[in-house]
Symmetry: C2
Subunit: 366 residues, 2 copies
Amino acid sequence: MADRIYNFSPGPAMLPLAALEEAQRDLQALPGTGISILEISHRSKAFEAIINEAEANLRKLLGIPDRYRVLFLQGGALLQFAMVPMNLLRGQGKSADYILTGSWAKKAMQEAKTQGGVRVAWDGSSGNFKRMPSQNELDIRSGATYVHMTSNETIQGIQFPNEPNAGNVPLVCDSSSDFLCRPLDISKYGILYACAQKNAGPAGVTVVIIRDDVLQSMPTDLPSMLNYRELADSKSLLNTPPTFAVYMVKLVTDWLLRDIGGLDEMHRINKQKAEMLYGVIDQCGGFYDGHAEPASRSIMNVTFRLPNAELEEKFLKEAKSRGLVELKGHRSVGGCRASIYNAMPVEGVQSLRDCMLEFHDRNKPA
Amino acid sequence: MADRIYNFSPGPAMLPLAALEEAQRDLQALPGTGISILEISHRSKAFEAIINEAEANLRKLLGIPDRYRVLFLQGGALLQFAMVPMNLLRGQGKSADYILTGSWAKKAMQEAKTQGGVRVAWDGSSGNFKRMPSQNELDIRSGATYVHMTSNETIQGIQFPNEPNAGNVPLVCDSSSDFLCRPLDISKYGILYACAQKNAGPAGVTVVIIRDDVLQSMPTDLPSMLNYRELADSKSLLNTPPTFAVYMVKLVTDWLLRDIGGLDEMHRINKQKAEMLYGVIDQCGGFYDGHAEPASRSIMNVTFRLPNAELEEKFLKEAKSRGLVELKGHRSVGGCRASIYNAMPVEGVQSLRDCMLEFHDRNKPA
């Protein structure tokens, strides 16, 4: 770690050092092939083994049932915002319910509007997106084509403690910023998707987990690259997949299984890291003003404000001087944000906690 | 190059060793940042410099005029097959002309059919796609919305010696498998696109060069990630781009400028490499049966058959034992194919030439 620093970026985010080291060691040639992972054919046996292992790792970590397909796609969550309604929402009488929990949920609904009918099942905007809805606040129609949720709002720093109950309506989840942070009951979802660049790998690949029966209901007249069924039938090899990014997902999930020991343990560590920072927020008497209501606090993105813009700038500068970077909040909301994804070491969070406590001591109101 | 071999894969393909070495050296942390390229924020100054340099390198290599935008997108050429008609072909009375030169051109037209009216401007299928059309064979309507061409057919191994003249109709070109192999007059194109994994970088990024006035004619009601105008306005940063793949495009284009000296020289080398293999085909009295007619021979993909399947298998085995791999033709057409993109060293082609000559000597008909 000699010249590496603690990077609290909301994504792309830190990766496990073990994964970076293995990628670096083998970058000129994968063992036994004489060919770099950056050059290898996506139809080769070596790559077939890599993509199969990445899928097997995800199935093992999340206990994904056999009736779900695991796809490795391109275009990020933003393309999924469009592909979900393209595949599910076109046709007479179809309409989807969206749970508006923050910036990303709003964006997902906006994209869906280009493809079909959408309706709001809950809207947290009047409360400034400080919390997730409770089950009885959700107005989900039993006849909705699907319900869309965002499990973690990266920008606001709020997270569903559990998935809502959508009854018989297929639940579609953007899990981009908390995928693999904790165990998940995949059987509750129709589709769950996540761009990789938070917990699963580098930017450039998006994992889509999709139930067989949902897949079967889809139209066949879409362009191939936007058609879940064609993508699933080809096992994500309709054209050249982002081979290197898939390889990195394999290395990161190897690390989760081998070095961490699975998602129960990862969850324990993530809660421990989050509690360190929320502890500071709670004990500094409002100096650090947390955005999220306690019951909706994200264990991935900790958002807070300081008493004024000058102190915020001073704090960010001081943190940077201690090797703690990318702590500025999203440009749309300001403030500070510490993204503490799976690969952020406990030591990095301890260092940020100490920085926050010391900064408070020196700058608190007299 | 100790344990690296000569990889004649049609893509992903060999990359310049200098680019691999630099990527490997800096994989844990980009100089001066303490953050890996795999972890760096796409909104950071360091990444902004990288994507700007990648674009500047492409502009310099190809002499791209200011009135063209250069985009770095995801989804490969297959998604471009759909995005072009989505953006250009929707609306009353629009219809595009497709030049059917081989497998990829056919696939491009098939995808376009899902979005609007298409028409064939020339069809080489009856001649088994052994050649490109001459200008006077092309039936391009002056009122066509655009004309689509495929500059190089990877599977058949044929290449346009020059772009056809489309008059005032915007010329849209899939240049995936010969992009950067030679100088190009970009001003003749409305849109030129190329997935990176042949001459420009690894899989996972697609370069799209698009003229301002073509961009202005596009609809605005498309999903963001499928909307060229939104993508151009955001400078390819509508969401997280494939940061590592863009970085590799920068390293590969650095190599083209610094180590090769530009596209004139690259073209000279590519012609030299291609002539070595076509020379063997021509001098072995039909033992190696080249697919392409001489005037349409691709300088990127050299396709040929041996007298029978047993000899083909024996040849592939012998080549492999000499460290020459991925010489099997595409599964849809069979035979052999040597893809000799920019990064394939002259020495690799010499080695294949020697292998072909010796194999011929030992196996030619008595």
